[in-house]
């Protein structure tokens, strides 16, 4: 009897953590370069199909890497990648990757993200001095007409090995298999919007809430059965 209650409890708890992910997506509905994510539970194939307990499921965070739409900002240092690829950012913990191309300059004239990490070009950091900055559609950065660097844009064969690290950054493990991207295309003066779709999230939220409700009903029913059983058994005795 109690075993069944446990199953319902663990299912309800899973719904609670799924809701955390939906909420995080919604909070980032307006964050440039943000990629929506979903928590799912995958049953391990080797487990007994009859065992419906929480221990036979692995939580997996799926990140939707589909592109967001491009929004015009007019700022020459806002860059959006059109199509595949990620900008390469140098942080104190190593290289990180992002789709958020909202850049600025630091006191040395280096191209940095809004959190202050250097944006890497094909030949390392990009230092810009001059009065007119232009970023071409191929990612070439020029100051006053002369090229000072080219934005490094990479892609990954296995994107599911990318892990989020906050501030729009992804960390890639060796399993992600970095792949060179031929002819990346960027648009200066644009930012990629968040790819969170409010409708999807709403539906997910309704689903979560109703399933949660159902699991609680199961718990109630079971405890009611328990109560009935004990009271009737007591009469028999």
């Amino acid at each position: 009897m109690m075993y069944g209650v446990n199953t319902a409890v663990s299912a309800a708890v899973k719904k609670l953590s799924q809701h955390d992910y939906v909420t995080h997506n919604l909070a980032n509905a307006n964050t440039p370069g943000y990629k929506a994510e979903r928590l799912i539970f995958v049953r391990r194939p080797e487990t007994d199909p009859m065992a419906e307990d929480s221990f036979s499921h692995d939580p997996v965070v799926l990140i939707d890497h589909s592109p967001g739409t491009l929004q015009k900002t007019g700022n020459p240092l806002d860059v959006a990648i059109q199509g595949e690829g990620y900008f390469v950012i140098e942080t104190k913990d190593g290289e990180r990757y992002t789709r958020n191309g909202s850049f600025t300059l630091n006191q040395n004239g280096e191209l940095i993200t809004l959190s202050g990490d250097a944006v890497l070009g094909e030949g390392g950091r990009i230092t810009i001095s001059g009065k007119k900055i232009e970023i071409s559609n191929t990612g070439a950065v020029s100051a006053d007409g002369s090229e000072v660097g080219r934005l490094k844009i990479v892609d990954f064969k296995k994107r599911d090995a990318l892990v989020k690290r906050g501030a729009g950054l992804f960390e890639a493990s060796a399993k992600a298999e970095q792949a060179a991207l031929e002819n990346p295309e960027v648009r200066a003066g644009y930012l990629e919007t968040s790819n969170v779709q409010a409708v999807k999230e709403m539906i997910e939220m309704i689903d979560i809430q109703r399933s949660f409700e159902a699991y609680l009903k199961i718990m109630q029913t079971m405890s009611e059965q328990d109560r009935l059983a004990t009271s009737r058994l007591a009469k028999l005795a």
Binding site: T23, L26, Y34, F55, V61, N75, L105, N106, G166, L216
Partner: protein, 261 residues
């Protein structure tokens, strides 16, 4: 559960700031030389709720960790330095910059500030100043007895008297920044340099990279009401949906509380 309540709150807070920025833009739709701002967000750090590679009860290791995000935060409010529309005013001391560059004014303490609002007045000591009384640099004098005052596209200005004799002349200089979006906004249409904007490069109007001067015109605000309206709708809906997430969390908590009667 409590986590998602706070996560949604960060989302609501972000949208609130977004609305503040939009409201400020709309309030300045008629401010000459005003440049619209945009609030910019980032996702917050992720909390590791399950490490990658940890053994499970069935003896296998989790391939990936489970990291839950905690919401969003404001990273910066950036100015957009696109060109505003021009309005003809007929006033000879109203100058608009067509193209890139800023007018330079002296803040009275020797520090140079920058502005796009070219609506000048004559001070008591016959210099051109902005409406705050800050002197345009390099100085422009309008001697007593000036009848005609002209400035050409290249910034060369001439003050002449009734007889047509030149009383004073000079050439205006503009300043440019590699990254104008990095300037700090001091309000009153004034900007100051920061590390993010880089050092100013000065030059005459109508020379390479600098805009030209149009006399008797003012540059209007570059706020686009339609864009702001769209931004406002998006912001409001995002705010709403974040509050729905709080409601959902609250409902689920309520259900739990009602389990025990």
């Amino acid at each position: 559960m409590i986590r998602s309540l706070y996560t949604a709150a960060t989302g609501m807070l972000a949208q609130q700031i977004n609305q503040d920025v939009v409201a400020n833009n709309l309030a300045n739709v008629q401010t000459p030389g005003f440049k619209s701002s945009r609030a910019e967000f980032q996702d917050l750090m992720y909390q590791v709720s399950r490490q990658a590679g940890v053994g499970t009860t069935s003896g296998t290791a989790l391939p990936l960790g489970m990291e839950v995000g905690l919401g969003s935060k404001l990273t910066s409010i950036q100015k957009t330095f696109t060109q505003g529309d021009y309005q003809q005013t007929g006033n000879r001391f109203d100058w608009a910059i067509e193209g890139d560059g800023f007018f330079q004014v002296d803040d009275g303490n020797g520090k140079t500030l920058y502005t796009r609002a070219g609506s000048w007045k004559i001070s008591k000591d016959l210099y051109l100043v902005n409406s705050e009384g800050l002197k345009l640099t390099p100085e422009v004098t309008v001697p007593a007895g000036t009848v005609t005052f002209t400035i050409d596209a290249g910034g060369t200005w001439t003050a002449k008297d009734k007889a047509g004799t030149t009383l004073s002349t000079g050439r205006l200089e503009l300043a440019k920044f590699a990254n104008p979006a990095g300037l700090t906004n001091l309000g009153r249409n004034l900007y100051a340099r920061t590390d993010g904007s880089g050092d100013p490069v000065t030059g005459n109007p109508d020379t390479e990279g600098f805009g030209t001067i149009s006399q008797t015109f003012l540059e209007m605000s570059n706020v686009n009401v339609v864009d702001e309206m769209v931004q406002m709708i998006v912001g409001q809906r995002a705010y709403e949906i974040n509050s729905k997430a709080i409601q959902t969390a609250d409902n689920m908590l309520q259900l739990v509380n009602n389990l025990k009667r």
